[in-house]
Amino acid sequence: MNAAGVVAESISKRYGGTRQTQALQDVSVSIQPGQFVSILGPSGCGKSTFLRCVAGLERITDGSLRVGKDPVAGPPDNIGMVFQRDALLEWRTIRNNILLPIEFAGKSRENYQHRVDALLRLTGLSGFADSYPHELSGGMRQRASICRALVDDPRLLLMDEPFGALDALTRDQMNVEMQRIWMETRNTTLFVTHGIAEAIFLGDVVLVFCPRPGRIVEAIPIEFPRPRPLEIRESPEFGRLVTHIRGLFEGMEH
């Protein structure tokens, strides 16, 4: 197993220009290797900015940010990223999409064929290796893009509202699958979402972000044992967490 922690020490991110915006202010968090962390907040709260900083796609303006032992300066080695819109290459088959990180890393595709097959089995896409993305449904496409992110056994899996574009039923199903995949692979996972139930259902911890300036208002540990069934969302304990988080959001509006 190959999992890295993430440590942020009072990081800030300002966007320059005439009207300076404080996208992140004084964000500190320590994420353990192998943890599943949900990053929750309304739009404009800096949750995606935080993820992009960890991915090395945005530069922090203050503080220190480390993935594993290394300070983040540009994208860290061996991370996987899943985008809201799957970002599959339409002209490649599912198998060849999943092998893209292997090609970019300059490794032999042959050595990873078994890995691809295993991931396709894990995500229920076994029959679709040679299909093209347009032949798959939205949920299946997103599963394929998760396979792509996992193929090289990343130290860190970053997911930016991966199920945001899916319908509610597919989304529920994807949540269950995501939990199963994560329990199998145990990658350190940062999962950005604006769905409260989704964040609680999946996370070991929920980091609640709030806007203007973007910051963490609370880190809530989630203690439900795994595997968690979807019905857990009907439990009083779950309800209390939802109410609590909703209260945090309502407190934000001034």
């Binding site: 080695d77 809201q84 970002a87 290459l89 090609e103 970019f104 093209y132």
Partner: protein, 255 residues
């Protein structure tokens, strides 16, 4: 399947209109409503084409080769220039305005100059075809390369591939539909450029036949050449439209 059926249907409809048009034209000529020197009957044009088939074929072949050579240069040159424009700030800043300015010169007006420079062989004609066609390739390729979805750019950065493999595996294929759309326009323009070149100075090709037939008021010959040109234009366009449908097939509309 459906798309193929409908394009076959469009083709049928076009053929029916064409046949009706030719029929009416023939009637007008037979009735003696226009002098043959102004508008020859289609049947006369067919007879001319049939009797001189070998000669027309060799002239058309020459025009086709020049067109394809000009087009090939435009594709290679246009894509390379577009790649340079997109990947280098310097190139974009200093050369793009120049290219735009150059594009606004009517290229046809340059034809005599190219004859002075390059003589009366194939080269000036290829150059004119290239000049007229290349901008369509540049503009659509630049557009395609600039429209790569931001997620794909981020994906490339996170995966840390070499710039070259990212370009070949992600950017270029992503821009391909746009590039092919440019090629479709460029091919028609290359044919225009070739004919212009043959007008200006030539002893060969369909453009030459038209010019020399004009001198002797041989309208039949002009129409015979025009009908070959029309056919050539349609076939060339059809080939690229087919390529385009192959490229686009299986792609979700990108944004």
């Amino acid at each position: 399947m459906n798309a193929m059926m409908s394009s076959a249907k469009n083709f049928m409809h076009g053929m029916i209109s064409l046949i009706v048009l030719i029929f009416l034209w023939e009637m007008v000529c037979r009735a003696g409503l226009v002098a043959p020197i102004i508008l020859p009957a289609p049947s006369d044009v067919f007879v001319e084409l049939f009797n001189e088939a070998g000669w027309y074929a060799s002239q058309a072949w020459y025009t086709l080769l020049i067109t394809l050579a000009g087009f090939a240069c435009a594709v290679v040159g246009g894509v390379l220039i577009a790649v340079a424009l997109v990947s280098s700030r310097f190139f974009e800043r200093y050369f793009y305005p120049l290219i735009i300015a150059f594009n606004s010169i009517p290229k046809v007006a340059l034809a005599p100059l190219f004859v002075i420079w390059l003589g009366t062989g194939s080269e000036p004609k290829i150059l004119i075809a290239f000049m007229i066609a290349v901008f369509a390739v540049i503009i659509d390729t630049v557009h395609g390369l600039r429209s790569v979805p931001p997620d794909l750019i981020d994906l490339g950065r996170v995966l840390k591939g070499s710039p070259l493999s990212f370009f070949l595996k992600v950017k270029l294929p992503s821009a391909l539909p746009s590039i092919v759309a440019g090629l479709k326009v460029a091919l028609s323009l290359a044919l225009v450029g070739t004919i212009v070149g043959e007008f200006v100075s030539s002893q060969k090709g369909l453009g030459y036949i038209i010019m020399s037939a004009q001198g002797s008021f041989d309208t039949v010959r002009v129409f015979a050449s025009l009908s070959i040109l029309a056919l050539m234009g349609v076939v060339l366009y059809g080939v690229l439209a087919w390529v385009e449908s192959k490229v686009i097939a299986g792609r979700r509309a990108q944004n």
